[in-house]
């Protein structure tokens, strides 16, 4: 071994950052259209912000576009397609609290 006393200077010329994302849903696919959550609903072209997921108060999630089609097609009080509870959109505050409970230690 040759312990080196000289310090090497490294100059970074260029770098590429790569990130991946995924929805934090319990299922892999939307129970309505059966397409992957990491993909988009059949009406959309791009996943992500263009075709977001939405949670119900019952914690079931769907593509926003899919659940809206279902809710709007019901003449009486709509129910969650998975558990039949009265469908209500989960409030963002509730959802965030859920996050904090699930992932302690992350700020």
């Amino acid at each position: 071994m040759f312990p080196s006393r000289s310090k090497m200077k490294v100059k970074i010329l260029n770098w590429h950052a790569v990130a991946s994302w995924t929805w934090d849903a319990q299922d892999e696919t939307c129970g309505i259209c059966r397409m992957a959550f990491d993909g988009c609903c059949p009406d959309c072209k791009y996943p992500g912000d263009d075709c977001p997921l939405i949670w119900g108060a019952c914690n079931h999630s769907f593509h926003l576009h899919c659940i809206l089609k279902w809710v709007n097609s019901q003449t009486s009080q709509p129910h969650c397609p998975m558990c039949r509870r009265e469908w209500q959109f989960k409030a963002w505050e509730q959802r965030r609290r859920g996050f904090q409970l699930e992932t302690p230690g992350q700020c």
């Binding site: 309505i32 259209c33 059966r34 059949p42 009406d43 279902w70 097609s73 397609p81």
Partner: protein
């Protein structure tokens, strides 16, 4: 037989088409026990063979279900009827119409052909008497001009069978 009178035959929407293709693939990989999809190139009408479960009144009997999908499936329920001859069952009319809430009021877009088939087999299996519904003749007469069971206002009063 009036069963071939299809509901308004509007072509399947893109969403319906997409979902049915997925359901078909899923069925081929993992078909529900006791059922056989009769191969056809018609995605909008499936004909499915049902085998009565062993140890039930319908053991060793085979029936055929006809499933017609509406334009906006799965936001709307499919029309499901038995082709002639329909099994003798207190909730199945002689014209093949089935009194089962999930096919009408209680439909949910999370249900699939496969889950509907399982519900129908379960309904057959829990039957304790091979008989027609009490109002069979009156109902069937009312449906003579090919009315779809989806136009019927059903009363779901019996949760035992």
């Amino acid at each position: 037989m009036t069963s071939s009178s299809a509901p308004s035959r509007k072509a399947l929407s893109k969403i319906a088409c997409n979902r049915l293709q997925k359901e078909l693939v899923e069925w081929q990989v993992n078909p529900p026990a006791g059922f056989k999809h009769k191969v056809s190139d018609n995605l909008q009408r499936w004909v499915i063979e049902v085998n009565g479960a062993q140890g039930t009144l319908y053991a060793n009997e085979t029936y055929q279900l006809q499933v017609d999908f509406p334009e906006h499936y799965p936001m709307e329920a499919p029309q499901v009827i038995f082709l002639n001859p329909a099994p003798l069952h207190p909730h199945i009319y002689s014209n093949g119409h089935i009194c089962l809430d999930i096919l009408y009021d209680s439909w949910s877009p999370a249900m699939t052909v496969s889950s509907v088939c399982i519900s129908i087999l379960s309904m057959l299996s829990s039957s304790t008497a091979k008989q027609r519904p009490a109002d069979n003749d009156r109902y069937v007469k009312n449906c003579r001009n090919g009315r779809s069971p989806k136009e019927t206002r059903w009363w779901f009063h019996d949760d035992k069978v």
